[in-house]
């Protein structure tokens, strides 16, 4: 859906590049059908793969009966008992609903629902400051929908805060209404079917209302551990987060029961991490290897309209860990070449490399805000895994003209106070 929104932007650019096209309308239903069909083909693909590998697939809801036995309940209510030597829990998480708002479940939707809507969500209020909230708000805006994001305190809490504010600044400049420091109090359904939301500005204590077609809750995710009867197996969870406690081998408090993915405590909530953890676990269980998962320096990308790719430490984490005197931050504001013809605003296109100050200046973190951030960041994440230093990156010849080369051209440090805007070709 992010791609659909980006394409809308490209259509706008195209006319500047000579294409004779008027800005078209967007048909949500057509997009949704195409997206849903693709997802279904992936569902099918997974089933085929399981079959090919002779893995039995039971469409059951499972819970523990004892440490070695699981009870599976089918859609029709039939129960089946299954026992195993090893059990892996990978039940993930589900979106959280606000507990203090009456009828939040009935009147609001979540990311579980938005991708399956057959009709356009219309004018939407997204509540939340997570990347889910910002990504959804971003593509809804890009598809031409009137979109508001309500953020209680800071956007993208776990991320570098300078980058987070550039992300939201870009969204605000490009048509998303952002309500900072506000929290919803009530949602009521109006006679015409629309939703009236009342919220309070936490700083001024002033109340306000707005009318929306859709309210999307994106205030975090809860791990799917409640229905598992973990206590029957003796599997311990973190009482605050409800996530399952695991060790470096992904084993829970019960040696033959493992947990991977979003349901496990202290793990990045990312697909490729879960996949790799699962793969390595399988290899260890079959005695093929003893490799453990390395959770350090996991790269990720926030797919907001202007994408944010990052790997390693945020600037604040680096400073907290090493002290400001021992950290050097190189940065640049750059303009993607493709932006010049359609005169797109590049004010938030920004790169920051956080390094140790001491030579050879080990790279602690890289932050890239711009188009195709995921594609840009991946290779550099490898570099960081290889122990890249600022020297290494600077000795790498740039690929011209790309946005990624600007990483290899970073020269201005924050400490110097010089203007970090890139000039020249």
């Amino acid at each position: 859906m992010h791609q659909a929104a980006l394409l809308g932007g490209m259509i706008h650019d195209a006319s500047h590049y000579g294409w004779k096209v008027a800005q078209p309308l967007h048909d949500w239903g057509k997009m949704a059908e195409a997206v849903q069909n693709h997802v279904k083909s992936l569902n099918w693909g997974h089933r085929v793969q399981l079959q090919d590998r002779k893995v039995k697939y039971f469409n059951f809801k499972a819970s523990f009966v004892n440490p070695h036995m699981v009870c599976g309940v089918s859609k029709g209510g039939e129960e089946t008992l299954l026992s195993a030597d090893h059990i892996v829990i990978a039940t993930g998480g589900r979106p959280r609903y606000p507990t203090h708002i009456e009828d939040a479940l009935e009147y609001g939707i979540t990311s579980d629902d938005i991708f399956w809507l057959k009709e356009s969500p219309g004018k939407t209020l997204v509540v939340g400051a997570s990347y889910v909230a910002l990504e959804c708000a971003g593509f809804l805006t890009g598809l031409g929908l009137d979109t508001t994001v309500m953020i209680r305190s800071v956007p993208l809490r776990a991320f570098d805060q300078q980058m987070a504010s550039l992300v939201t600044e870009h969204m605000a400049v490009h048509g998303t209404r952002i309500l900072r420091g506000c929290t919803p109090l009530r949602v009521e359904k109006l006679s015409d079917g629309r939703l009236q939301v009342t919220w309070v500005d936490l700083a001024s204590d002033k109340k306000d209302t707005g009318t929306f077609d859709t309210v999307l809750w994106a205030i975090g995710r809860v791990p799917e551990t409640r229905g598992l009867n973990l206590e029957k197996a003796g599997v311990r969870t973190n009482p605050n987060t409800q996530k399952i406690l695991v060790d470096a081998q992904e084993a829970t408090s019960v040696p033959h029961i493992y947990a991977i993915g979003d349901v496990a405590e202290g793990r990045p909530e990312l697909t490729p991490t879960a996949i790799m953890a699962g793969r390595l676990l399988a290899q260890r269980l079959c005695s093929r290897s003893s490799d453990l998962m390395d959770y350090d320096n996991v790269p990720t990308t926030v797919f907001t309209p202007l994408e944010y790719g990052c790997v390693g430490l945020s600037e604040e984490e680096a400073v907290a860990r090493h002290g400001e005197e021992r950290v050097e931050v190189y940065h640049a504001y750059y303009k993607p070449l493709e932006f010049v013809v359609p005169e797109r605003d590049a004010s938030q296109c920004y790169i920051k490399m956080v390094c140790l100050r001491e030579p050879p200046q080990l790279v602690l973190g890289l932050h890239f805000l711009g188009p195709n951030a995921g594609e840009v960041t991946q290779g550099f994440a490898l570099g960081i895994k290889c122990g890249a230093s600022y020297q290494h990156v600077m000795r790498t010849v740039g690929i011209h003209p790309t946005c990624a080369e600007e990483v290899a051209k970073l020269r201005i440090s924050k400490r110097s106070g010089l203007d970090p805007t890139v000039t020249g070709c």
């Binding site: 791609q3 659909a4 394409l7 809308g8 490209m10 259509i11 650019d13 195209a14 500047h16 590049y17 000579g18 294409w19 004779k20 096209v21 008027a22 078209p24 967007h26 239903g29 057509k30 997009m31 949704a32 195409a34 693709h38 992936l42 693909g45 997974h46 793969q49 697909t271 490729p272 790269p299 070449l337 493709e338 010049v340 013809v341 995921g374 594609e375 840009v376 960041t377 991946q378 290779g379 550099f380 994440a381 490898l382 570099g383 895994k385 290889c386 890249a388 290494h392 000795r395 790498t396 010849v397 740039g398 690929i399 011209h400 003209p401 790309t402 990624a404 990483v407 290899a408 070709c425």
Partner: protein
């Protein structure tokens, strides 16, 4: 002081400060490539729900005007930068008359003489002509294409270089009928498996390839903007002759160094007779100690703008800044901006085999389907990723190749990783960013030697 007068092309095209990249290379090329990609985006957008009309036409003049506007702004920004650093910019053609002395001739023919302690030659190259009847009169080159005041129409691109394929690619993407005539190899010097895949992806877009032919004569049948040209070509393998009619013939058969008419022989700067390039040592010094050379004129270095810029910058620092750092040319990454982009760093597979021997190498590869292509219903088995490891030192990555969207953005970081000594283990240990094309490299499982199917399955 900077001396930079551009000798007009046979078609009369000239340009301002900034060299090939800014005026008739990377910059306008990438912008035209972007224009073509946007055409493809228009097609894709319909599948994503945008109600775009079916037949969208492209206006060449709108595009070139916008591009030239940007090029002009770059020319001016370079002039400003020179002024700010108190560097005299003399729009004249420089040539050596004796040691430490040059003659500068401006556009009006006025001559001035300058002396200096040190000289840097960065005169670059210009497109080569075929040396056949009608080539200079009727054919254009990349020097002319980016500011052509009219749409080139049905175009014959002669050559198999990256310039040839990039131009052919974006012309086809803009809706023009394009034929590419190649006398021998495509993308000579590049990995040939990848070169063939690039060609194949272009054929999928409607570009016609005439392989193993070379033009022998170009005739003008009709004048116009564009006119109509007849090209007679001969097979390089036999006696077959073919004829074709085109609106434009674009020659992209290579570039020649601008070292012949700048008086180098007067001061004894050694020039390679065959290539016309200037051999230098590892501090960019020619055979004459006070004369340095950077960029495309230099022998044995990649013809890439960032290489030239880096070399020049480090040279300045060594000459005046008391620094010692030399330019590191090893593993300079490069990208061919064909409609489906090809990025690479390190060895081509055939070169790796030559240097390391097949048994000391392992090649991992996979086809991949960008997520954005799924809904757009574009082919699932076109994009391709390949890594070459040397079994010698710890399975170090010595070759990286990717054919796919945004190959440039992908390749840059991998080039940095290779500088740090990227190995297979580190690649396998790194988590992919999901969903991207680049992540495909973190899950490469299939080796060429296994003979297994390299198509991707699942998410």
């Amino acid at each position: 002081m900077v001396l930079d007068l551009v000798v007009p092309s046979p078609q009369g095209t000239s340009w301002g400060l900034g060299g090939t990249c800014v005026n008739v290379g990377c910059i306008p090329k990438k912008l035209m490539h972007q224009a073509a990609l946007l055409g493809q985006a228009l097609t894709d957008s319909r599948k994503f729900g945008w109600e775009c009309s079916q037949q969208v036409k492209h206006n060449w003049e709108t595009m070139t005007e916008a591009i030239q506007k940007h090029v002009g702004s770059l020319n001016r920004s370079y002039q400003r930068a020179l002024r700010e650093k108190a560097v005299a910019y003399v729009n004249s053609y420089g040539e050596f008359v004796e040691h430490h002395k040059i003659k500068a001739t401006n556009g009006k023919g006025q001559e001035t003489y300058y002396t200096a302690a040190k000289f840097v030659i960065a005169t670059g190259e210009r497109p080569r002509y075929l040396g056949i009847q009608g080539d200079k009169e009727y054919c254009i080159t990349s020097d002319d294409l980016f500011s052509l005041p009219y749409c080139p129409g049905a175009t014959l691109v002669v050559g198999g270089s990256s310039v040839a394929l990039e131009c052919a690619g974006f012309l086809a993407g803009l809706g023009l009928e394009v034929t590419v005539m190649v006398s021998s190899q495509l993308l000579q010097g590049f990995d040939q498996e990848m070169a063939e895949k690039v060609a194949s992806s272009m054929q999928q877009l409607g570009v016609r390839f005439l392989r193993k032919f070379v033009p022998v004569e170009v005739q003008q049948l009709e004048k116009g903007s564009p006119g109509k040209l007849k090209v007679v070509a001969k097979s390089t393998e036999g006696t077959e002759m073919i004829e074709g009619l085109y609106n434009t013939v674009l020659l992209a058969i290579g570039r020649d160094s601008c070292t012949k008419k700048i008086g180098l022989e007067k001061i004894g700067v050694k020039v390679n007779e065959k290539t016309g390039k200037i051999p230098v040592n590892d501090v960019e010094q020619s055979s004459v100690p006070y004369v340095y050379a950077v960029g495309d004129v230099v022998e044995g270095q990649p013809e890439l703008m960032p290489v030239a810029v880096q070399a020049g910058r480090l040279l300045a620092r060594r000459l005046f800044g008391g620094r010692l750092e030399k330019c590191d040319y090893i593993n300079a990454p490069t990208v061919v901006f064909t409609p489906l982009e090809y990025g690479c760093c390190g060895y081509a597979e055939e070169k790796a085999v030559e240097v390391y021997r097949k048994e000391n190498l392992e090649v991992y590869h996979t086809l991949f389907w960008p997520l954005e292509w799924t809904v757009a219903c574009r082919d699932s088995n076109t994009c391709y990723a390949k890594i070459i490891y040397s079994k010698f030192d710890n399975d170090r990555v010595i070759g990286f190749h990717v054919l796919g969207p945004k190959a440039g953005e992908i390749t840059q970081g991998f080039a940095a990783a290779m500088k740090c000594g990227l190995t297979k283990q580190l690649l396998d240990d790194t988590i992919g960013i999901h969903p991207t094309c680049a992540q495909v490299f973190t899950t490469l499982e299939i080796t060429k030697s296994s003979g297994l199917d390299a198509t991707q399955k699942g998410c």
